[in-house]
Every structure is written in C-alpha cells, then in structure tokens.
C-alpha cells in the first residue's frame, strides 16, 4: 500500500494542477480585482451622489454683513473639524416679505433647501421642518454663536492670538496601545475569516466531480479514503495560498512601484502586536492554514454526502451561517483572555484559530499557540477520518449512490441494493 501522505500527494497534485492550469483559475485570480473595481466604481458614483444628497443646504436670507459673518464662522469651524460638520450655506437676497420668501424657498425643488435662516445674528429665525436638537438647528446655533462672539471680541479689540500647542511625545499610552492591538486582533480575525469564507466553501462541491465522473471508485480501490480527503484539502489549501500570494504580491508590487508607499522597503507600524510583527504574521499564516483545514475538512465531509450541485446549494447557506457564528464568537472575545466565553472560543476547534490570532495581538505568550495549533491539527485529522468513514458508510456501500441529504436517494439506493 502506498502511504497515506504519498496517496494524498497524488490526489492533491492532480487537483492542484487541474485547478491552477485551467481557464477558470484566471477568473478566480481576477475575482478580487473585479470585486474591488466594482466597489470603487459604484462607491465613487454613489459617494458623489450621496454627499450632495446627505449634506443639508440652508438658505441664508439676510443682509450681506450677517451672511458674511456666518460664512466666516463656518469656514473657521469647518477647518478645525470637517466640511461635513456643518450645513451648506447659500446666500439669498431678502425679498419684501421674508416669511413668504421662506415658504417659496422651501418648496423650490431645484434649490433643495432643508431650512431657511433669516433675521439678524441677534434675532435669527430658522424656518423649516427642523427639530430643536436636530443636526441643522444645533450646527447653525454653533455658527451663530461663533459669529456673534467673534464680532463682540473684534468690537472690543480683544481677539486673542491662537495658542501654540506644545507637544511632548512619549511612547504609547496604555489606552491607545490596547485600542490599536484590538484593532490588529480584529483585523487578523476578519482577514482569516473572509479569505476562508471565500475559499473553503469551494470544498463543499469538490467531491461532486469524482462522484459525477465515477472516479471515486477508482480512488477508493487504490488508496485510503482519508488520503482522498486529505489530498483534496491540501490541493485547495495550495490553490488558496497561490491565490493569496499572487494577490498579496500584486498589492505589494503595486504599492512599491506605483504608489511609492513602501519606498524604503516594508516598514511595519510602530505599534506592534504583543507578540511582535514577525511572529504574528507567521501565526496569521499558520492560523489561516488550520482554520482553512478545519472548516475545509468539515465542508468536504458535508459536501461529500451530497450527490449533486442542487444539494450543495441547499447546504451552502447553513454552512455559511455556521461560519458566521464561529466568527462572531471569536470576535466577541477579543480583549478577554479569561472567562467561560473566551475559553469556549479558544477551545472550540472552529473558533480557536480566530480567537488565537486575536490572542497573539494582545499577549506576548508563545506557548498557548503551540498548544492551540496542535489541538487544531488533531481536530483536522479527526474530522477527516470521520468524514471518510461516513462517506464510505453512506455513499460507497450503495451502487445507486444514495445521498445523506436525500431520502429519495437513500430509498433508491436501498432498492438498487
């Protein structure tokens, strides 16, 4: 008998070559690019439209001095905050009857005013469907107050010069460090989760090819089914790593040569994860691998029970929900290293890689990672073995290929036997 790993290698190599040297792999590689392209295109379009629609415009019906004072106040305050912090002010020359003019302006679809400000700085009048504590009312109040205060100080010739802010630069503050490390922890989790979700679900359908082409019996007669499952898993992991390497490489090259972000080679941010950037990145790759293998083995096992694409589609949603639940569990324990929930996230094999990459960002201890990786590897082996046995018991024993998910298929299988 050829060894388990030798057999797995034969299967993995076949699957890897069949996938990577196919036209569809080019689409697979281009998928993120297409996704990003669409996101940027639609994002830009909708942003431009949304910005215009989201920021309220107020018609200022006042004399030129009042209008100028308000515009100056807005410019001052927006410079210290943001352009979006205040309504857009548009000056309109006052008519004879300001109340009527205000109603006309509010009804003007072209102007699209949210409110009309009239009167003077000392007696301002705001007309429109405005709540007292709403954005427009509160921000206009700020502008009016600032304009009045500035006018009063200027009149008293008491405008103070801007105070020079002296900066004393220190190392990281504890609060700041904790916040950033949580960000790193969650970023790592999100990265592993997203990539795994995109790629591991492909494993649901990978054995359908062998069942459809009847190759499975050739494989089952020659090598242990564990090797078939392991080989398929390794092939998909390899394919995903090739994809990641190409995507990552493209991003780095693009950044280096075109955006010139990494002019002096890669410099990692000053705020490192507790375990340090190099080890954290190695752990990120290792936990991605174990996460992919764990979920992949489970999906492969579940998918192997399905006899056609329709069944695969049916089980895809619950499987995605399961992934999401696991992610939420791991996400919720970021920042907690003890407690029942945290321990659950560390110990449950499917959430363990996500919880541990977060742990690596927040704790400098290395040994728990060795333990966790070994624990996760044991579960990969267990899931593969159970999946292979289940496959042999429920699928291979019947000539008609009864499916675990289809009662009719199982009935047919019994009848054929």
């Amino acid at each position: 008998m050829i060894s388990l790993f030798e057999a797995a290698w034969v299967i993995a190599r076949r699957d890897f070559v069949a996938s990577v040297f196919s036209r569809t792999f080019i689409l697979f590689l281009l998928a993120p690019l297409i996704l990003i392209g669409f996101a940027i295109f639609f994002g830009t379009m909708t942003d431009a439209q949304d910005e215009a629609a989201a920021q309220p415009t107020v018609a200022v019906v006042a004399d030129s001095a009042t209008s100028a004072a308000l515009a100056a106040a807005r410019e001052r305050l927006a410079a210290g905050t943001s352009e979006h912090s205040f309504p857009v002010l548009r000056n309109v020359a006052p008519a004879e009857r300001v109340a009527v003019q205000a109603q006309q302006l509010l009804a003007d679809e072209h102007g699209a005013y949210s409110a009309v400000l009239s009167g003077t700085l000392d007696r301002p009048v705001l007309t429109g469907p405005i709540k007292a504590d709403g954005f427009v009312a509160r921000r206009l109040q700020l502008l009016i107050d600032d304009a009045r205060r500035t006018a009063a100080l200027r009149a008293a010739a008491a405008v103070p010069p801007p105070a020079a802010l002296e900066r004393v630069v220190t190392g990281q503050a504890a609060g700041n460090l904790r916040m950033i490390r949580r960000g790193v922890a969650r970023g790592g989790q999100a990265l592993i989760f997203t990539i795994t979700m995109l790629l591991a679900t492909l494993l649901l359908s990978t054995l359908v090819e062998e069942k459809t082409n009847k190759v499975i019996e050739v494989l089952a007669a020659a090598v242990p089914l564990d090797a078939v499952f392991l080989g398929k898993l390794l092939a998909m992991l390899g394919i995903s790593l090739v994809g990641l390497a190409l995507w990552g490489g493209t991003i780095v090259l693009t950044s280096t040569f075109f955006l010139r972000i990494f002019q002096d080679w890669v410099t990692l941010p000053d705020v490192a994860p507790a375990i340090g950037w190099p080890i954290w990145i190695v752990l990120l790759i290792l936990y991605y691998t174990t996460n992919f293998m764990l979920l992949g083995a489970l999906f492969l096992g579940i998918g192997a029970q399905a006899s056609n694409i329709r069944e695969i589609q049916t089980i895809s949603m619950p499987v995605t929900l399961l992934q999401l639940l696991v992610f939420l569990l791991a996400f919720s324990v970021v920042g907690r290293s003890s407690g029942a929930l945290a321990m659950t996230a560390y110990v449950v094999p499917f959430s363990s890689p996500l919880a541990m990459i977060a742990f690596a960002a927040q704790s400098e201890k290395l040994w728990p990672h060795l333990l966790a990786l070994a624990w996760q590897a044991i579960w990969v082996v267990l899931i593969i073995r159970v999946s292979a046995r289940l496959f042999k018991a429920t699928v291979l024993k019947s000539a008609a290929g009864g499916s675990f998910f289809s009662f009719r298929g199982r009935k047919r299988a019994r009848a054929a036997a």
Partner: protein, 316 residues
C-alpha cells in the same frame, strides 16, 4: 492449490438494509489464471468484487488478496476496472493513465512513458495528448483499462469489462487479457456474457442471487452435462426408435438426446440394425451456456440473456 492463490474468500456476506446482496460466497482464484465470475445483473458480482478489493467491508467472512488480509495493502500490485467507468474528462489520455498508475505507487514520469508505449502498441499513438472528453465511450474505456494495467499489477480485477464496447474494442480487450495472463498476471473479471467467459477463462464461478452455484474449471462445468447427440434419420418409424434414450426430443426428422452411458458404439449398432437410415449424426460437447442453464437454472439463464440483450442494445 493452497499457497498459489491470488484471491481467497470464504463466507463473504453483504446485506444492504436487510436484504442480502451476497450470501456466503467462497472463491479460490489461482495465481496466473483467467477467472470469470458469471451471473445475471443483480446476482452480486459487483458487490463481491468490491468486497474483495476493500471498497466495501463484508458483514461476515474473510478474504485475502495476494496474501494480504487488508486489500489496500496489496494496492500497488492490483489493478481495478470498475463497472461504472470513471476518468477526469479534462485530463489527456497519457495523464489519465499515468495518474491511475500513480495511485498505485508508480512514479508519474514512469507512468507517462508507459502510457505512451501502451497507446502506441495498441495503435492509439495519435490519442496521447487528446483529452478524455474528446474520446468515444469505448475509447475512454480502453484508456481506463490501460490505466488499470500501467503499473504492471499481479492481479487485475475487471468488473463487466466488455460492457458497452463495440466488437473491435471487445477484441482488443480479449487480446489484452490474454497478454496479461501470458505475462503471469492473474485476471479476474465479472460478466453476464457467457461466450466471453467461455473463450477466455480457465476457471469460472457461476453466481446467482448472491450465491455461488458452481466454482471450478470451465471444462468441469461443461462435463456436468452428457454430450448431446444430433441425429437425422431417413425413416420416421421403426425398431430403431426403441434404442433412443428417454428424454429424446425431435423437430421433424432431427432428433436430439444425451449420449447414453454405454457410449456411441452400442447406439450406432442399434440404430443401424433397427433400420433408422442415418443421414447425419453428430456428437456435441455441451457449451458453457448449457452448463449455466443446468447449474443456475432457467430463470437465471433468462436474466443473463436479458442482460446481454440490454448490453447489445447499449453498445449498438
């Protein structure tokens, strides 16, 4: 025969949801022989072969494959062509053959070289880089057969290998089976087409309803029936009629009956003396088909014929 068996099986039992598909099968396949498992569809042939190869586990009984209790331990020296043929459609013929060899431990490079040789030797060199999906069904089956033998196994197991093949490919397959056996390889195949077994096999197992009805040499199966005498007599009546054994049947002036135990000479003498007026007389040894009918029964024979007809229709 012990010690020279490629396959030994005793008391193999397999049930599917309470129904026995295989019910206590014993087999002894000598090394280097061509061995046929004969039986109609649903007799339990495929289930038996799957159990022998370890694809499914028997509920009871034991089997040894080339001296190994666990069939996968012998995987490097076994080749298997399943009833439901399976190849990856996008693979080229050479890669498909080499891949099947690699599954049995043959290095891929060696497999590729041997694949090219096999294709060339069989006049299929033009197909070496053709994808499987571009081949006819018969051609794809031939490629899979090459994949079954590319690693030079000691035992080749073929499940209904002739099924779906046209006459040319059937001839090619028979030739290949004989070549393999001549090289010392044990070949065991299942079939519901008796003449394949009759032409190729030294030994057969006749299986019906999950049980072995006969296991032994083809000649032994045929020897279970007495030779058949066919007689054409000029005279319809006469004393010679008294010399015919009970059970003799006729259609017009043509009579057919089993050769009496006393042999041909007393019969001939009685026919001549009784005034039969012999026009034609022949003694025919029973074929495997006759033996099958006698051993497995008329029902099984009819099922075999139905399976054969269905297959002929499929091949056409």
């Amino acid at each position: 025969m012990q010690g020279h068996l490629a396959i030994e099986a005793s008391g193999l039992v397999k049930s599917f949801d309470g129904k026995r598909a295989v019910d206590g099968i014993d087999l002894a396949v000598p090394e280097g022989s061509i061995y046929g498992i004969l039986g109609p569809n649903g007799a339990g042939k495929t289930t038996t072969l799957r159990m022998l190869l370890g694809i499914i586990e028997p509920d009871a009984g034991r089997r040894r494959l080339l001296g190994h209790d666990r069939p996968l331990e012998a995987a490097r020296i076994v080749g298997y062509l399943p009833e439901e043929r399976g190849l990856y459609p996008a693979m080229t013929t050479r890669e498909a053959i080499a891949f099947m060899g690699a599954l049995r431990g043959l290095p891929l490079e060696v497999g590729r070289k041997r694949a090219a040789i096999l294709l060339e030797e069989n006049g299929l060199a033009d197909y070496v880089d053709k994808p499987i999906k571009s081949l006819s069904k018969g051609m794809a089956q031939t490629i899979q057969l090459f994949g079954t033998i590319v690693h030079k196994p000691k035992l080749v197991v073929l499940d209904e290998p002739f099924s779906g093949l046209d006459a040319i490919n059937q001839g090619r397959l028979e030739h290949l089976i004989r070549d393999e056996a001549a090289a010392g390889t044990t070949v065991i195949f299942s079939t519901h087409v008796i003449h394949h077994a009759e032409r190729l096999c030294e030994r057969v197992a006749i299986i019906a309803a999950g049980r072995i009805r006969f296991e032994g040499l083809v000649s032994e199966a045929r020897d279970r029936l007495r030779p058949q005498v066919r007689l054409k007599a000029r005279n319809a009546e006469g004393p010679w009629r008294g010399s015919l054994p009970a059970g003799a049947r006729h259609a017009g002036d043509l009579w057919q009956f089993e050769l009496p135990k006393g042999g041909i000479e007393p019969l001939l003498r009685a026919l001549i003396d009784g005034g039969a007026g012999i026009e034609e007389l022949s003694i025919e040894r029973p074929g495997l088909h006759d033996a099958f009918v006698a051993i497995a029964g008329e029902t099984a024979a009819r099922e075999m014929e139905a399976s054969e007809q269905a297959e002929l229709g499929e091949a056409a």
